[in-house]
Symmetry: C2
Subunit: 321 residues, 2 copies
């Protein structure tokens, strides 16, 4: 009998749940709004209701391996609690794993959302044919996940994979982490908008100033559009993003010599604008990269990477037992 599991991607805005079989096929998906303001108990109850719905439908179709949940923020793996989550206020020290387990009577695996996205790409995405990879998710921040020999690398406190906080600009701007010049302050969607605002303020981009004057606020998408239309200042922003990604990935390559670096997240949509500078910088900064077989590629699973990676957690563990 085939095994299946349920993966959940618990974001600050959306709550997505899917039943996935051991080949990685999603056979049913539920999308809900995360009603975070109604409190964590409401969110967990809705999550459990959706999981129950999915598992009941699949009964008989396969054996149920368990539940994996990806959560944005820092997770205490041992206790199954959330240590810190900017998008889920009030969840700190909430024993979310035990809550779901007691409501459903099934084993639950909790994991950081960027880590499950990396695991998803390893399992059924770009990383299918390699053992190890790093994934960078370019969104509001820059999330990271490290998969080594097929498994998420957690580090000794469970805090590994904070690739957004590798230092790439020695004298760069302040980061929310307390540092400055992190990859996140140079290559996130937020960084793209900041650089766009700077270009407008400095009068370097009339095209962007015009686009901005017609909208409520500047977005990374708008800067992408002006860049595609030929605006030099907008193009330079994506080149800068690429350069810093290249610096970060070169460092990771020199330290870890992994075969694959996957770029995902919303801002990965501007791949064609930042990738050339990224590749050039990685070549310049890493003799291992110049050797030729290291890949930097755009994520293929898009929004489903986290969902699939979360679903893989119980499947991976039960396959080992």
């Amino acid at each position: 009998m085939k095994r299946f599991s349920v993966g959940a991607d618990l974001g600050g805005t959306n709550l997505r749940i899917a039943a996935v079989d051991e080949s990685g096929k999603i056979f049913e998906k539920i999308s809900l709004a995360t009603r975070a303001q109604q409190g964590r108990d409401t969110v967990v109850r809705e999550l459990c209701r959706a999981i129950r719905e999915l598992t009941q439908k699949q009964e008989g179709a396969g054996s149920f391996a368990g539940i994996g949940v990806g959560i944005p923020g820092i997770i205490y793996l041992k206790t199954g609690t959330v240590r810190q989550s900017p998008n889920l206020p009030g969840w700190e020290n909430y024993p979310v794993r035990d809550e779901i387990e007691s409501l459903l009577g099934v084993r639950v695996f909790l994991e950081n959302d960027a880590n499950v996205a990396a695991l998803g790409e390893k399992w059924i995405g770009l990383g299918r044919d390699v053992n190890s990879l790093c994934m960078l998710t370019l969104g509001t921040g820059v999330g990271g996940g490290v998969v080594l020999d097929g498994k998420i690398w957690h580090g000794f406190l469970g805090m590994a994979g904070e690739l957004g906080h590798i230092v790439v600009a020695e004298n760069g701007v302040a980061c929310s982490c307390g540092g400055h010049g992190c990859l996140e302050t140079e290559a996130s969607a937020t960084a793209i908008v900041r650089k766009g605002e700077e270009a407008v303020a400095a009068g370097r981009s009339p095209a962007l100033a015009e686009a901005r004057s017609k909208a409520a606020k500047l977005t990374a998408r708008m800067i992408y559009e002006t860049a595609k239309a030929g605006d030099a200042a907008s193009k330079a922003i994506f080149e800068s993003v690429g350069r810093y990604l290249g610096i970060g990935i070169a460092g990771l390559t020199n330290a870890l010599n992994l075969p694959l670096y996957v770029i995902g997240g919303g801002a990965a949509a501007s791949w064609d604008l930042f990738a050339p500078a990224m590749m050039e910088e990685a070549r310049k900064r890493s003799f291992i990269f110049r050797e030729g077989s290291t890949r930097i590629e755009r994520a293929v699973l898009k929004g489903d990477a986290g969902l699939c990676g979360a679903a893989y957690l119980p499947l991976q563990v039960s396959a080992e037992q």
Copy 2:
């Protein structure tokens, strides 16, 4: 019966060989000059003679697990050949592992010298109580070794651990690797001397200019002495070394969340001058480091780290079998 092995540290200048038991005790050590200019065959013959001498003496005292050899440069692990070694000219593509094996009839493990130093510190040095660590060796260059879950992390091409080529200074000086602003160009003994020459040339350090005028050339040791005597420009050089080490280690900590970073090599002797800036920078740049339990410490095995790590290679493998 106790097991023992032989470790060799094949440097460009010195060739050191030791018989080590499975508790990590060195019971005999031989030091020779590496007669590199006489050709690789001579070096390997002398190496083998010394190994034979050591093993014959230990016969009866224990069972012999094999030989580990640490070599500076890039090693092809699978073929047991040297890919590139600036200190051993003419060794490129030389099947050194097979040569030693056929001369001695014993299994030989070849490994990069910085990797075996990291493994040595893990086995019987600072890292005894942790599973994973990074080691940075501050010498002419900056060598690196990564040990994860008790084993050297090689990466998919066997080229991992090039921690000297993590980018720490976005616009830093050119590095021999083809990049610029690498940890090696900012924190090696060579970097210390370069910064000293710059201080002298700019007239920033009369004390250093005087010391330099009395000697054939400027050394890191001389800069250490003038710094200890209170020269501000010399002190600033070590603070700069510390700052860049802190940037590099903060990035590694954020990516990998390892419990321990070990600093070894000749320039680690100026620990008291660079460590405060290093710790401060790591705190500033890494919220994981600020959590408090991550250690950055000075290597304890000194010159024996590589020798012991090399000896551990056959012991580790035979313990697993």
